[in-house]
């Protein structure tokens, strides 16, 4: 088994190239996986803060607005409800939108009364929220109900699709690794044809002839796995500072998650396993065709 390492060392360029390609092929799904995992981590908390904004008609008076707000607050489905007056709304808008100067020019407040509410804890499923929103929409004083669920659901759907694409990419790239290792082993077999023939002539079984090639595939896959993990690590290291800056700009304390120990093991072990399998396939296919002539 160690002898096969020596042989790999004797063809440094081919070996390094193969390991590099395996490393990149394994690093790609690993990196994609991390991107999706981090995006899920960022958005995981969003589902809890679903908020409905109920915009009342502009003609609504303060008393009417308070009456509607009380009625909404009294509903079972509603957890917290806050009435926001047009003045409060304008103040908030001025503070956060960055177009405060332009708003100075307005002669009258264009904002309506708004009831902002969160659903009760046991009524926050997307379906329940949709029902509540539809119900509120039918109130005569209500102009518009905005539920924030749609974009969260869309985001989660996109992430789920991405996750499946990562799985698909991993499968495709795994086949790529098999092909790369298979081709390298094929070249190795051709290069050692004389040795294989002589070994078979003096009674070497197929298993005996195959063994060094399996070791060779295993080592290359293992090394490729380590390289993939290293590449992902380097990528994380390089992204750490920019991501921290972005998070800070949004006032969020977000740290990029790296690979867990189990995932490191999966990439390295997966590389070794794919190397072994690729070598086995190539050996099974090509060794059969080498029969000794005498």
């Amino acid at each position: 088994m160690v002898g096969s390492l020596g042989r790999l060392a004797r063809q440094p360029l081919a070996t390094v190239l193969t390991i590099t390609v395996i490393g990149i092929a394994l690093a790609l799904p690993g990196a994609l996986y991390l991107i999706v995992a981090n995006a899920r981590a960022v958005t995981a908390g969003l589902g809890d803060t679903v908020q409905l904004s109920v915009y009342l008609r502009l003609s609504t008076t303060a008393e009417q607005a308070q009456k509607v707000a009380r009625a909404i607050k009294a509903r079972n489905e509603v957890g917290v409800a806050v009435l926001v007056s047009p003045d409060e709304g304008l103040a908030e808008f001025r503070a956060h939108s960055g177009i405060g100067e332009a708003l100075q020019a307005l002669t009258e407040n264009p904002l309506p009364w708004v009831v902002k509410l969160r659903p009760a804890a046991d009524r926050d499923s997307a379906g329940a929220i949709e029902l509540l929103a539809a119900d509120l929409r039918s109130l005569p004083e209500v102009e518009l109900v905005e539920a924030d669920t749609a974009w969260v659901r869309r985001l989660h759907a996109i992430l789920e699709a991405l996750r499946q694409m990562v799985a698909l990419a991993a499968v495709v790239l795994a086949f790529g690794v098999l092909a790369i290792v298979g081709n390298t082993i094929r070249l190795e077999i051709n290069g050692r044809r004389a040795e294989i023939e002589v070994t078979k002539l003096v009674g070497g079984s197929n298993a005996f002839v195959r063994r060094p090639f399996l070791y060779s595939g295993f080592w290359q896959g293992l090394a490729g796995g380590f390289l993939a993990v290293a590449l992902v690590g380097i990528g994380l290291f390089m992204l750490e500072a920019p991501v921290a800056r972005v998070a800070k700009a949004y006032g969020a304390a977000f740290v990029l998650a790296g690979l867990a120990a189990r995932e490191y093991f999966a990439i390295i072990g997966g590389g070794a396993l794919l190397g072994l399998l690729g070598a086995w396939l190539a050996a099974a296919f090509h060794l059969r065709r080498i029969e000794p002539r005498a």
Binding site: A194, E195, V198, T199, V202, G203, S205, P292
Partner: protein
């Protein structure tokens, strides 16, 4: 030990190498297989080593018909036969030690015993101390002797050789043939294919002469 029973061999290209060939070799017997090139000598040896299978008829080695052997059993079968080639088929990128030890490595012999047996085999062919030499650094006769050491290292009961002296000058050929006779003296069944007339006269052993794939004038040299 080896029996050919009405063996007919036609190669895929249509060439008929052997026709109705029958002969028998007793255990411990030494034989020359003679005939012109193309007469079918190599085919006989290839059939014994199971590099080919007969088209018709039976080849029996060690009491087993080779026809009944599955391809999975061929490696084990070949380990019972020492084979010496005219071009000796050594691995030029491996030292003498590795070449000779190959059959032992295949059998999974431990390193210490391997060392001992490689030395013993090299001693028998007069090449002790050349373990680390590469084949191309050796003379033709020495290379052939390495090939013989490799063939006998597992102590096979049968030793077959295809024109082992074909590339050697008469003195070296004689030396190599003496080696075969020494192995035969300790009970190994030996079959040597050759068309070296001078050599044949020096060794009074049974000859199996084939012509156009048939047995022709089987004769025993006067002992």
């Amino acid at each position: 030990m080896i029996r050919f029973d009405r063996v007919f061999k036609r190669y895929p290209n249509g060439r008929e190498a052997l026709a109705e060939l029958s002969f028998e070799l007793a255990t411990g017997e030494m034989t020359f297989l003679t005939g012109h090139s193309g007469a079918g000598k190599s085919t006989v040896l290839r059939l014994i080593a199971l590099l080919e299978r007969p088209t018709r008829g039976q080849v029996v080695v060690h009491g087993r018909s080779t026809a009944s052997l599955r391809s999975r059993a061929i490696p084990g079968f070949r380990r019972q036969i020492g084979i010496v080639f005219q071009d000796h088929r050594l691995l030029d990128d491996r030292p003498v030690y590795d070449n000779v030890a190959l059959p032992l490595a295949i059998s999974g012999v431990p390193r210490r015993e391997m060392d001992r047996r490689v030395r013993a085999a090299l001693d028998q062919v007069g090449l002790l101390g050349r373990e680390r030499t590469f084949p191309l650094e050796l003379s033709a006769g020495e290379q052939q002797r390495v090939g013989i050491a490799r063939a006998v290292i597992t102590k096979p009961p049968v030793l077959i050789a295809d024109e082992p002296t074909g590339n050697l000058d008469p003195d070296l050929a004689l030396e190599v043939m003496n080696l075969f006779q020494r192995f035969n003296a300790v009970g190994v069944t030996v079959m040597v294919a050759t068309h070296d007339i001078h050599l044949l006269d020096r060794f009074p052993v049974r000859r199996i002469h084939i012509e156009q794939g048939r047995l022709a004038n089987p004769s025993y040299a006067a002992a």
